[in-house]
Each structure stands twice: as C-alpha cells, then as structure tokens.
C-alpha cells in the first residue's frame, strides 16, 4: 500500500541492481560501533586462532604483515541501511591464514573476537574460498582506528556488523553461537540479499 504523498528518489539502474532490498547508496563511510574506539597498539597487537579456549596459532603485527596479501574491491552493506559501492581493501585472505597456521578448520563455525569485547559469529564456509579476509588497509592506506584499524574482519557478502572491527582473533566453536548483536535481536546469519536484518527475518 502506497504512503500518501511519498515518491522517493529511486536509485539509477546500476545502483538499483547493486542495492540489496531496503538499502540506499551512501558516498561517505559512516561509522557504527558500540562504544569508544579502542586504542590498539601495533607493538602489542596479536592475532590468534583458537579452538575453544586453546590457541592454535598466533601472529604479531610484523609476522602478520609478512603473510601473503590479497586485495578485494566491491560493495558493502550495513544493516542500518547504507550501502557503499566499490570499496577497496587489502589484507590477509582467510584461506592463506589457515594455510600459514597449517590447519584445516576444526569446526564449521567461528566467532570473530575484537579488542573491545565485541564478537560476531560467521560460518567458516563464508570465510574460506576467497570470501573473507583480515583487512589491514582500506583505500590504499592503513585502516583507520574508527573503521577498525589496525585490522578488521572483512566478509562483504554479509551485513557489515559481521565484519568485526579491531579483531584480535577467530575462535572456532562447535556450534553456531550467537555473538554480540546476534544476542540482541540481530539475525544469526545476516545475508543482505535476503534482508536478514533481525531475528525473525526469513
């Protein structure tokens, strides 16, 4: 049913094709975080893979920077409804990370964990096969703290709350455990093309 007097400003053909349902294009890069931006020092930064509480592999910043690099360019979609096109990221591919650790994923699920206490769950299959990376550069420069620097998860085919900022590690879990927002009414998976914003969305 139409809203009386509302006509809106539908996006052009290209944008319409690239926008998942309910999204609009923004040209700036809005920031959304649950609290203050944590100050994460490179000198003490570590990135750790864990199975439950047990560390499997860990890298300091120089060690992490020495891992094989990958680049990705594409569109990102925030659950607060903005989408941003043609963003450019560099970092370490999750496949390369697992290879460097010499592991095969021990479970099908994980939680990305952050320095500010945030976490979010992602199926491992959504990170492997070139679908996810730990990003350390955005638009050709080191990732700014307010956007998650020094390093954030990038899993652009899911709503952007899954791309945890200030990430300190990935923890494999036996089951699909809800993370910070998933415990607070947000969808367990978060596919923008199926508009999985909230618990109860299909």
């Amino acid at each position: 049913m139409a809203t009386r007097g509302f006509f809106g400003r539908p996006p052009g053909k290209d944008a319409a094709r690239r926008l998942p349902p309910g999204q609009y294009e923004t040209r700036d890069f809005p920031v959304l975080s649950m609290g203050p931006t944590p100050q994460v020092e490179l000198a003490t930064w570590r990135f750790t893979l864990r199975e439950g509480a047990r560390p499997i592999a860990s890298w300091s910043w120089p060690e992490f920077e020495a891992l094989p690099r990958t680049a990705w360019r594409g569109d990102i979609h925030c659950v607060t409804k903005w989408s941003k096109f043609d963003t450019q990221w560099e970092g370490v591919d999750i496949d390369a990370l697992f290879a460097a650790a010499g592991i095969a994923p021990p479970t099908a699920f994980l939680l990305a964990e952050s320095y500010d206490g945030y976490d979010t769950n992602v199926p491992v299959a959504d990170l492997t096969g070139g679908r996810g990376m730990i990003a350390t550069r955005y638009d050709g420069a080191p990732l700014a703290p307010e956007h998650g620097g020094p390093a954030r998860l990038l899993v652009p085919h899911l709503y952007f709350w899954k791309s945890a900022k200030w990430v300190k590690g990935l923890r494999f879990t036996p089951r699909n455990e809800a993370g910070f927002w998933e415990l607070r009414g947000y969808h367990l998976y978060g596919d923008p093309w199926r508009e999985q914003r909230y618990t109860g969305d299909p």
Binding site: M1, A2, T3, R4, G5, F6, F7, G8, R9, P10, G22, Y24, T26, D28, P30, V31, L32, S33, M34, G35, P36, T37, P38, C78, T80, K81, W82, D116, G117, E146, F180, W181, L183, R184, G185, R197, Y198, T199, G200, D201
Partner: protein, 248 residues
C-alpha cells in the same frame, strides 16, 4: 528470548497522530502503532512506499518514554534527504506508513541499571537520550542524571522547553547545554565545542562518578566525547555509543 525479537521484526501499520515542530530543522512525529513496549534508547525501522512500489527504509530512535501513549520520533530534515522531507513537508495526522521494532539491545537504559547516568548528546543525538531521561524521571526519579547537550544554537536545542523545565524542578536531573555557534544564555551553560577540558569542567561541577555513560551524535562528536571520557577516567566498558551517519 527469540519470541519477542521475532515479534519485533514484523512490519505493522503506524498511524500519525500529530506532527509538532521542535526546531527549524526538526519535527516530532507522534504515532500509534501496535508495537511491544520499547526500552529507552531503542529505535524503530520505518518503510515508505511510493505509488510505483518503490520503497525506502530508515531507522529512527524513539524519543518517547517506554509506555507513553504515543510513540514519538524526532526527525531532522537532512539537506538532500529522501525520507526526512516526507515527514517535514507531507506527513499529517491520519496518514500511515509501515514500521517495525523496537530494535537494539545495547544503547538502552532500564531503571534496574541504576545510576548515576551520564547522557551526552550532539544535535539530533539527543533523541534516544530524551527517552532515557523521560523514563528515569517517571520510573526511577531517585537516580541522578547529567545530560550534556551540544547544539549549534539555543533555537536548535530539541526538546528545549521541556528540558529547561525539568532542570528547574528536578533536583536529581542536571542539564548543561553548550551552543557552538551562539553565546550562552545562562551562567550554567556553555558556548564552546565539547572537548576534554569542557567535559572535565562539567563533570567536576556535577561531582558524581557515572556508573554508565551514553553518548549519541555524529561520528565526529561521539569519537571526540568518548575519547575524552576515557581520558578523564570513565571506564571504556561503561560507555555506550550510538553514531548517526549516512543519509536520511
């Protein structure tokens, strides 16, 4: 836990009861909608539909206290906005649109969370903080609260008359405004950018250590204020932030 969340994700019809001008750039839209009672600080999603079927969605914080007769949204008109001009120029009592929620479980305050609470708002960032203050005054009036509210001018302070009245009659509620483009009008207010020095001065004047702090506004505002609070010794974990960004 998932039942109420699932309930909140259903689109419902919202009926506009009143549209009230708050400032030159902000209107309050009062709605009737069959939503579950929200928590102070939560938001709703709205969806407008054009005659050709095109739809636009946005999120707006709720300004009314939980349990209020009508849901109040305070909507700023954004230059070049797609949805906010509808609320400013078209919407009138009796109109309806779709709405779902309430949404968000982090930037919320409940009476059992206690206090003292520190609320810091920039511009339209006052909206979810207003719901918290209204809720506090109604349900937990013994909890002490300090609201620090920054706007460009006196005229652009949303809910100004209500806030000034609350300041005059509620001993547990302290209000300090700062206007960044206009001289202050009282000796208890300020007319400077809200930086660490000013925050320190305001917190010292209050003399309380906040148990929880809620900061809402533009990203630049929230970044500056939360960093200043951490530098002033407020525990990072006790600070909850909500950043307004993007178009609307």
């Amino acid at each position: 836990m998932s039942a109420p969340f699932a309930e909140a994700s259903r689109w419902r019809e919202a009926l506009i009861e009143r549209v009230v001008r708050q400032t030159p750039r902000v209107v309050s839209v009062f709605l009737r909608a069959p939503l579950a009672e929200h928590q102070a600080g939560q938001h709703v999603d709205i969806r407008l539909t054009a005659p050709d079927g095109y739809q636009a969605q946005r999120s707006y914080s709720v300004a009314s206290a939980p349990g209020a007769a009508a849901i109040e949204l305070a909507i700023e008109r954004l230059d070049d906005g797609e949805v906010s001009p509808y609320f400013h120029e078209v919407a009138r009592p009796g109109d309806s649109f779709e709405l779902r929620g309430p949404i968000g479980g982090h930037f919320v305050w409940r009476p059992e969370d206690g206090g003292p609470i520190l609320l810091v708002g920039g511009g339209s960032g006052i909206v979810p903080l207003m719901a918290m203050e209204r809720h506090r005054a109604a349900r937990a009036p013994q909890v002490e609260a300090l609201l620090v509210y920054s706007a460009r001018s006196f005229e652009e302070l949303i809910f100004r008359d209500e806030l000034l009245e609350r300041r005059a009659r509620d001993g547990a509620f302290r209000l300090v405004t700062t206007t960044t483009r206009e001289p202050r009008r009282t000796a208890v207010d300020f007319d400077r950018r809200l930086d660490r020095t000013l925050l320190r001065e305001i917190l010292a004047g209050w003399g309380r250590a906040p148990r929880q702090a809620y900061v809402c506004g533009s990203n630049a505002f929230v970044e500056a204020v939360t960093a200043a609070l951490v530098a002033e010794g407020v525990a990072a974990r006790s600070i909850r932030a909500e950043r307004y960004g993007g178009a609307a």
